[in-house]
């Protein structure tokens, strides 16, 4: 690929943490990957001044000194794309961590050289395209059953087109050519399964489409109240301990996606271990297979070198785009984008750039926007005009949970869904601690229309009523704080009870309970309509002279509260039963003679 280009060879001049300045790099290009010192540490050129190149080094730099060699590879930081990624855990620059462990043991030493993807493994390639077909970039050459649930479609790389002259079915490694294309200029191009793509450049598509369907997550406060569209973007900011990571894990587990790319960016090592150990045990409610079969993990834990943290989210999203291009629905979770921004800040500081807000570089906002804009519902390249979906969800860890933090602000300007986590809710162990008063979803209206058509005609109406009750509750609570509970009318008390029921029986969801962890849309609908029916029937009963006390003590309420633990296959039966019980019991408390 680099062909006849002369590769720059320079020498280290300066070392300051992850930043190395090398001289003699006049021919190098911006963002070229370089090998630093005899230990072959990986770095990337991020600034050029004449003969001097500033290099961010993705590995620990202790022991480096002036005079050691720096060699450019002549290519920008790229990921390898081919079968073999599913179920794997990679570091921020796509080095496979399991293979590194096998090679150097439990701790990551420097200069380890391992191929990102296994070059020796044989994959059974099944051709789709036929000899003589005219192909363009994005067309499917053939498929490989990568895991039980993922059919890996081998695509013609973007930019390549021509007539298929040869295609080779059977077992192949990812580097062996599986097809030969005669290009427009008459040249022969051999195509292996393996492709490379520079991480900082978004993979091309044939155009974006505005999303209208929500990505079902099985999380009630998200699906019902603050839905994220397929192809949308969402952010979860919150102070520590408010459950960001649990939400991200829940989404990775249950989100309606064919492929999940999970990026642990500057977070705890044990969280990645948790995913590695837990996901293979969990089954996908849609396929019945292990969740690990559809998951790719990128881990730059907080003790790993900071420069690779900056690269990790690009590595992750490039892999996600690759699967999107096959026509899959891909969800990417980045936990946490604040650590990525801090890595950016650290490098910016070492480059002695003029700082913007809180020491973050002035280009923080535009870099974040570029990342999130790579998500979307798109028409993929290729003559088939497949639709591909890439949904991006980023956690933000603002200092002290303060949303005026530059990273949080820059993120909120871009994303369409905001799940604001609240430490007060977390202290009460109300999880997910998504504060319903501050959160929003700009997809709510469009998704609502879709739900009305496909789930239940009064979906949007119920949602609106529930939201209003929660709003009213906040106001009534202010009044209670001033004048006490006794001063409220029976109607207002019922409102408070109904709102409490929405909070405790609907919004509160226990991710560690085997049933409660995932709720289907029909069940969500039945749950919410039961709670709201209690409110509506109760209001009517109060008007007819029933006492609040009697409504409060209705035995059916216990059933409503425990409805969340009813398994999916018994939902309708139980909901019908509760519906009847509710009507009967409300009827029984009406004063005699009123019907």
């Amino acid at each position: 690929m680099q062909g006849s280009k002369t590769l720059s060879r320079g020498k280290i001049l300066k070392v300051s943490g992850p930043l190395v300045v090398a001289e003699g790099m006049g021919d190098a290009e911006m963002f070229d990957v370089v090998r630093v010192s005899g230990q072959n540490l990986i770095g990337e050129i991020i600034e050029i001044h004449g003969d001097l190149a500033s290099i961010q080094v993705y590995e620990e730099t202790a022991g480096l000194g002036p005079g050691e060699p720096v060699v450019s590879t002549g290519a920008p930081l790229s990921v390898e794309l081919a079968p073999g990624m599913m179920g794997e855990i990679f570091d921020g620059i796509q080095r496979p961590l399991e293979a590194i462990m096998a090679k150097v043991g439990n701790n990551i030493t420097r200069g380890v050289q391992v191929d990102a993807l296994d070059r020796t493994r044989q994959w059974e390639f099944v051709p789709v395209a036929q000899v003589g077909d005219r192909l363009v970039g994005g067309d499917i050459l053939g498929t490989v059953q990568e895991t039980v649930v993922v059919v890996h479609k081998v695509l013609v790389p973007p930019g390549v087109s021509g007539v298929l002259r040869e295609i080779r079915a059977g077992s192949h490694t990812i580097v062996e050519p599986i097809a030969v294309v005669e290009t427009e200029d008459g040249g022969r191009r051999e195509l292996p399964m393996l492709q490379k793509w520079p991480v900082r450049i978004g993979r091309p598509h044939a155009g974006k489409i505005s999303p209208e369907r929500s990505m079902v997550t099985g999380q009630r406060s998200i699906d019902t109240f603050f839905p994220v569209a397929r192809g949308g973007t969402a952010a979860v900011p919150g102070p520590f301990g408010s459950g960001k990571t649990v939400i991200q894990h829940q989404l990775a587990k249950w989100a309606e996606a064919d492929i999940v790319v999970y990026i642990g960016c500057g977070e705890r090592g044990n969280e990645m271990t948790d995913v590695l150990l837990e996901f293979p045990e969990l089954t996908d409610p849609r396929t019945g297979e292990s969740l690990m079969n559809r998951t790719v993990l990128i881990a730059n834990t907080s003790d790993m070198p900071v420069a690779a943290r900056e690269a990790s989210i690009y590595t992750g999203i490039t892999i996600a785009e690759y699967f999107r291009d096959m026509g899959y629905s891909v969800a990417i979770m980045a936990d946490s984008t604040s650590r990525w921004a801090e890595a950016l800040r650290e490098m910016s500081g070492r480059l002695e750039e003029m700082p913007g807000e809180e020491g973050y570089p002035a280009y923080l906002g535009s870099r974040l926007a570029q990342f999130y804009e790579r998500a979307g519902l798109v028409t993929c390249l290729g003559q088939e005009r497949r639709e591909g979906v890439l949904t991006a969800i980023g956690a933000v860890s603002p200092p002290g949970g303060d949303l005026s933090d530059p990273v949080a602000q820059a993120t909120l300007r871009i994303v369409k869904v905001f799940w604001g986590l609240d430490s007060a809710l977390a202290y009460r162990r109300h999880f997910p601690a998504i504060n319903w008063l501050i959160s929003y979803s700009l997809y709510a209206d469009r998704v609502g229309e879709y739900m009305d058509r496909h789930v239940a005609p009064d979906w949007s109406a119920l949602r609106a009523l529930a939201m209003r009750l929660l709003q009213d509750e906040a106001e009534l609570e202010e009044i209670v704080k001033l004048v006490g509970f006794d001063s409220l009318s029976a109607g207002d008390r019922l409102k408070l009870e109904a709102a409490r029921s929405i909070r405790e029986d609907f919004l509160h969801q226990n991710s560690y309970d085997p049933v409660d962890t995932y709720t289907s849309l029909p069940k969500q609908y039945r749950m919410l309509s039961l709670i709201l029916r209690y409110y509506q029937e109760g209001t009517r009963a109060l008007e007819r002279g029933a006492s609040f006390r009697a409504l409060y003590d209705l035995p059916v309420r216990d059933g409503i509260a425990r409805f969340k633990y009813i398994p999916e296959d018994e939902v309708d039966h139980e909901a019908d039963r509760l519906d009847r019980a509710l009507r009967d019991q409300v009827g029984a408390i009406l004063p005699q003679g009123v019907m």
């Binding site: 300066k14 439990n106 090592g269 271990t273 801090e342 020491g359």
Partner: protein
């Protein structure tokens, strides 16, 4: 013999610039030879051409440009280790400080360590019984966890930490246990409290102590926790021991870091702390854990004083983002005589869910824990409301919750520093308190557990 340089050009704060060096590398350890014959140590922070910027670990007093010499050792800061380190006291740089002989090293380890491969970690899931109800019952500690204590000046964190060190045990397992204690900038008296407590219980024979006290050089503190963690890694992953590391006080450590950063004139982050404070703290905290194929474990309890009891201050804030939870001490509870004054609501153990339940503690643990949290939170709100409006303004059920909150603080949390409760005692106490509430209120507990454990109080 390494070359000696007499080319010190500048000395400012803890930093020194040495010119015309050759073959010096980033992070390398150096020795400064003073005219008085004294030897001090330093580390290369930046190397630019033939200029080396070094950071001293000790004071700069007595250094002069004309006669002081520097030599670089070609390696980073190392700690000599052997099984003999158990029972010994070292200073913050790893030199023996108990008058005993030097350690004859089995090996020398780079104190900076290397990042643990997340694929090589073993998820912590073994319940540690600390005998403290507020921890065992509600914020359960597991082997290999990093769980800091967030405290304020004047709060009894030392008593609590010593109690944990004394009582912590893994039931069912009879394994080799050790304590590594790192003091950073604390007073002699506080350090002495720990040492005496270790002596009293005989724990001192299984302990390794690294002492950087308030009167020792502040910059030395930057290496103290790394020394302690290196010793812990050796004991845990080479010697197969279960190591409890107590580090106190992280706040002083971060201040030392800020001092170096300010001297380098780096762009400051929040409150003058360097932008890389998160990364730096992470390289300490993340060294805790368990590894595949290794018997030992490192459980880390850092103690940090929140300036002005402010949890959003950068040090507790960034710590909370790295550690797996936090135990928070409350000044309000302390004033009201609750001992230990653990504020259970903002406290959290992120790893508790994998360490509790059937076969680990008891089947009803998870749900009673959630119920206790929810009930206590509601009771506290009710109490606040009754302060404003009088008890009469509360609904009947809220009055019960208020009573529950009182009883919970007095009986469950306040157990004193010498009481050790088994997990069964803690769980039974929880049920006793929950029975103050009517059964219908206990929505977070499954019926089967209610049937088995709930006994309504007839009052």
């Amino acid at each position: 013999m390494p070359r000696e340089y007499r080319t010190i050009a500048e000395v400012a704060g803890p930093l020194m610039l040495v010119r015309k060096v050759e073959g010096v590398t980033f992070g390398e350890l150096g020795e400064i030879l003073l005219p008085s014959g004294e030897v001090r140590r330093c580390r290369v922070l930046e190397i630019n051409g033939d200029n080396a910027l070094v950071q001293l670990f000790e004071s700069t007093v007595g250094i002069n440009i004309a006669e002081t010499r520097v030599r670089f050792l070609g390696r980073g800061l190392e700690l000599p280790v052997s099984p003999d380190i158990l029972g010994r006291v070292f200073d913050g740089m790893g030199h023996p400080a108990d008058g005993g002989p030097d350690i004859i090293p089995e090996r020398r380890l780079d104190v900076n360590g290397t990042p643990m491969n997340p694929a090589a970690r073993n998820y912590p899931s073994e319940f540690i019984q600390t005998g403290v109800s507020a921890i065992d019952g509600l914020n359960t500690l597991v082997r290999g966890q990093k769980l800091p204590i967030f405290t304020g000046s004047g709060l009894p964190h030392a008593q609590l930490a010593a109690q944990i060190a004394r009582q912590a045990k893994v039931r069912s397992a009879d394994s080799k246990f050790a304590v590594v204690f790192a003091a950073m900038g604390i007073t002699f008296e506080e350090a002495d409290y720990f040492i005496r407590d270790f002596r009293r219980t005989g724990a001192i024979d299984r302990a390794v102590l690294f002492m950087n006290l308030a009167n020792h050089p502040a910059i030395e503190r930057i290496s103290t926790p790394r020394m302690a963690l290196t010793a812990a890694e050796y004991l845990a992953f080479t010697r197969g021991m279960h190591v409890l590391v107590i580090m106190t006080d992280i706040t002083y450590y971060a201040e030392a870091l800020r001092e170096v950063s300010a001297a380098r004139k780096e762009v400051p982050g929040r409150r003058g702390y360097p932008g890389y404070l998160y990364t730096d703290l992470a390289t300490l905290y993340e060294r805790a854990g368990r590894q595949k194929g290794k018997d030992g474990s490192i459980t880390l309890i850092p103690i940090l004083t929140m300036p002005e009891d402010d949890k959003t201050h950068p040090i507790p804030d960034l710590t909370g983002y790295i550690t797996e939870g936090q135990i928070i001490l409350s000044r309000d509870l302390h004033r009201r005589g609750i001992r230990p004054p653990i504020d259970v609501l903002p406290s959290l153990s992120r790893l508790k869910d994998k360490g509790i339940g059937k076969g680990k503690t008891r089947e009803d643990h998870a749900q009673t824990m959630n119920q206790l949290f929810a009930a206590y939170a509601r009771g506290k709100e009710a109490k606040e409301l009754s302060v404003i409006l009088g008890e009469a303004a509360l609904s009947d059920v809220d009055r019960l919750y208020a009573k529950f909150a009182e009883a919970f603080e007095a009986e469950y949390v306040s157990q004193g520093y010498e009481t050790e409760r088994s997990i069964e005692e803690t769980l039974d106490l929880g049920w006793k308190l929950l029975s103050l509430l009517p059964r219908t209120e206990l929505k977070r507990i499954r019926e089967e557990f209610l049937d088995r454990y709930y006994k309504e109080r007839t009052s």
